[in-house]
Amino acid sequence: MDMRRWTPSLLALAALAIVPFASSQIEAQTPKRGGILKYVVPGEFPTMDGHRENTFALIHPLAPFYSVLIRVDPDNPNSGTYVCDLCTEMPEPADGGKTYTFKIRKGVKFHDGTGLTAKDVEASFQRIIFPPTGVLSSRVAQFTMVDSVTAPDDETLVFKLKYPSGAFIPALATPYNFIYSKAKLDADQHWYEKNVMGSGPFIFEEWQPGAFVKGKRNPDYYHPGKPYLDGYEAIIAKTQTLRVQAIRGDQAATEFRGIPPKARDDLVAALGKDITVQESDWNCVLILSPNHKAKPFDDPRVRRALSLALDRWQGSKDLSRISIVKAVGGIVFPGHPLAATKEELEQIAGYWPDINKSRAEAKRLLKEAGVPDLKFTLTNRSVDQPYTIVGTWMIDQWKQVGITVEQKVEADGPFYESLKAGKFEVGLEFNCQSVVNPLVDVSKFRPDAGDQYSQIEGKDLVKLHEAMNRTADVAEQRRLMRQYEKLILDEQANNFVTLWWYRIIAHRSYMKGWKITPSHYLNQDLSGVWIDK
């Protein structure tokens, strides 16, 4: 069957084939069975419900318990191809690209012994796409093209779309789309917020809040031979230094989010061949969001000045030595065919090649707006890498055009509370996506997006974005993307992109069968991971 008829996958393929590089040789050994994998996780999930949460701190410990409908190819996660997990074959779209019919595997069992059918898959996607009142779903916006999802029988699942869309299949492959048991959901839609029961490669054993999540091998797993591990232990460790030390002292094999270059160098120096490093560009970027309802940030000149003051090109060189950020880019994952080229970027305010000219313009704008000695508070997340590091760097950059900034750092909860309630002046937040799919990834910049905190207005953005999503012509998509980007970053100065992240994973060399991807959400079900000791 033809995997490549959806343009975005083709684009993703083109992009990703170049981007990631792994310093480890791709191992050709046959996997060994057994062993417990221990790894550290930098945070803890607020609830256990994948459908509602956005954090990797849920994916890393809990993804191995669940099956999904489709996923990125686990053997080749950077190829941009999608393969079946619970379905038997990737479907051919029918009805002019508006109907997708999936056949569901037979004989799959939930960990409680009940059988998994298309009805369970249907119930799960109903909950994700059309959440009942009182249920929070984080991914409603990704499925705006879906008209209905039905399961005519136990083996068939049908998605009907309102219009053909290249964003549909990547949205399905989002790793948060856990398949839940219909029986459990029928009894209580909130059951999965506090409980785990899936059909994935590992069976939930124990969660000790604040400490760890343990899983054991699912002997009835439907992918033959897998998983290889007897079990795993995801240890919650909130300080970065301690996580790196744990890897160094072999209390953990790795950490799956990403560590700064310095930590990598220390580990390699201390462990030599016992440590393996894999690196990749990262589909994550820090977004600077001024609150358009807070004076003087209602004035686009002031907002533009914020961006003009940042020397991104030099910042990239400097910060990539101490932090997990690296590439300069616009709103699209750098290196992707839809991303702006360097020449195109240099036309946008804040990306000008001459920083002195840029800073002079920033000062001029501030003066013109009547705030030559602007003072404000930057609301930031209390996560050092890369939030407070980049925040501290920006404050120094702003100081050079006469802006005085105080940094206010908050724990995740209060931080999002401030953003959502509009109780901030300028916030530093992020856009992190799993499957590289710029058409969907840039929806964050729409005024109606759930995670758009700047309180912006702009119907033109919605129109542009929808036009981009409905066209199949790549050149047209690219043209619209440039317009969309220029509007957001420059003309309307709504939100600003700072620097894109760079993912470095250092793992104990005995851990095999894991490949880095541009997202710390992807390919984390551990079914192919094994230990070679």
């Binding site: 300080t239 970065q240 230094t241 790196v244 700064p260 310095k262 930590a263 160098d265 220390d266 060189k317 400097d318 030595r321 101490i322 209390s382 050092d384 890498q385 407070t388 590091i389 925040g391 501290t392 760097w393 404050i395 120094d396 100081k399 105080e406 940094q407 206010k408 750092v409 908050e410």
Partner: protein
């Protein structure tokens, strides 16, 4: 620090052996140093810290917040006496300016907390009765919380940042001082001169301010000095946890957070010097406070 010392009368001056007559406060100082060599060391540290904080702009050569990636993680040298951090900021400048943050938080919260405690303690002792009972009850409740826990709760209410941290540290100190002052004030209350003052028909305010407060000044001073050291440490702890002062403000606890730990091995100066600064400051204030207590009020137990 020298001024309040002079206002306090020493109990039982035992040292007549000092030969050359000096101005009285110099003599007292000499006495203090001789009897408490450790206290003298503490006093010197305290004076150095205050000097650093007061003249931070004069004695440093770099802007403590200015990034300079060209000089990132430089080891100590003649250009950068204590090296630079991961942003290329001069550690010496940051530590000296950090003294300002530390002492500001330390002194303000200790003295404000101490003074409110002084007023409450004296008032509680003077008026007695129900007021005393209620105040004592509240103080007991507050004292049952570990210091850091109370400070953390306060930070949650007020938020982070320099001013809020001062508030968060001040409040837990109030009961600690009030308790000590109250017990001294209870003894003072029974003194004949207070009775005399009362008999003269002096107002409550006059009795409290003119007669009681000066006589409980010794324990007040001792508790407060000890509190400065504690407050510095508490601020450092809060900042280390990310709940206190925030980047890029130079503050010692903050300097030990994140980067400093990551670089502790390959660039040890980043982690060593701020730690030494905190330890030295707290050490100094504690030694000084201990000596002050021995000297002013050897029987006092805090």
């Amino acid at each position: 620090m020298a001024t309040p010392m002079a206002t306090v009368t020493r109990p039982a001056a035992s040292a007549a052996e000092e030969a050359p007559p000096r101005p009285s406060w110099l003599g007292a100082l000499w006495q203090f140093c001789r009897q408490n060599p450790l206290g003298a060391v503490g006093g010197i540290v305290v004076i150095i810290m205050i000097g650093m904080a007061a003249f931070a702009d004069v004695v440093t050569f770099y802007d403590p917040t200015r990034n300079n990636f060209g000089a990132m993680l430089e080891p100590p040298s003649t250009d950068y006496w204590l090296g630079t951090d991961q942003f290329g900021r001069d550690l010496y400048s940051r530590i000296v300016h950090g003294a300002r943050t530390a002492l500001l938080v330390g002194f303000v919260s200790a003295f404000v907390g101490g003074t409110v405690g002084l007023i409450l303690g004296v008032a509680s002792a003077h008026f007695g009765g129900r007021l005393d009972l209620i105040l004592l009850g509240i103080m007991d409740v507050l004292m049952a919380f570990p210091l850091i826990i109370l400070a953390l709760a306060m930070v949650s209410i007020f938020g982070t940042g320099r001013f809020n941290v001062i508030m968060a540290i001040t409040i837990p100190f109030i009961p600690r001082c009030a308790r000590v002052v109250r017990s001294s004030a209870l003894a003072v209350r029974e003194m004949p001169y207070i009775d005399a003052a009362r008999a003269c028909g002096f107002s409550h305010a006059r009795i409290v301010m003119r007669h009681m407060v000066p006589n409980v000044f010794a324990p007040y001073l001792v508790v407060t000095t000890a509190a400065v050291g504690q407050a510095i440490l508490l601020e450092a702890s809060l900042s280390f946890l990310g709940l206190g002062v925030q980047e890029p403000v130079p503050a010692w606890g903050l300097m030990l957070r994140g980067g400093a730990q990551d670089f502790a091995e390959s660039a040890p100066w980043v982690a060593v010097f701020p730690g030494i600064a905190i330890s030295l400051a707290v050490f100094g204030f504690n030694l000084f406070g201990d000596a002050l207590r021995d000297w002013l009020d050897p029987k006092m137990k805090i």
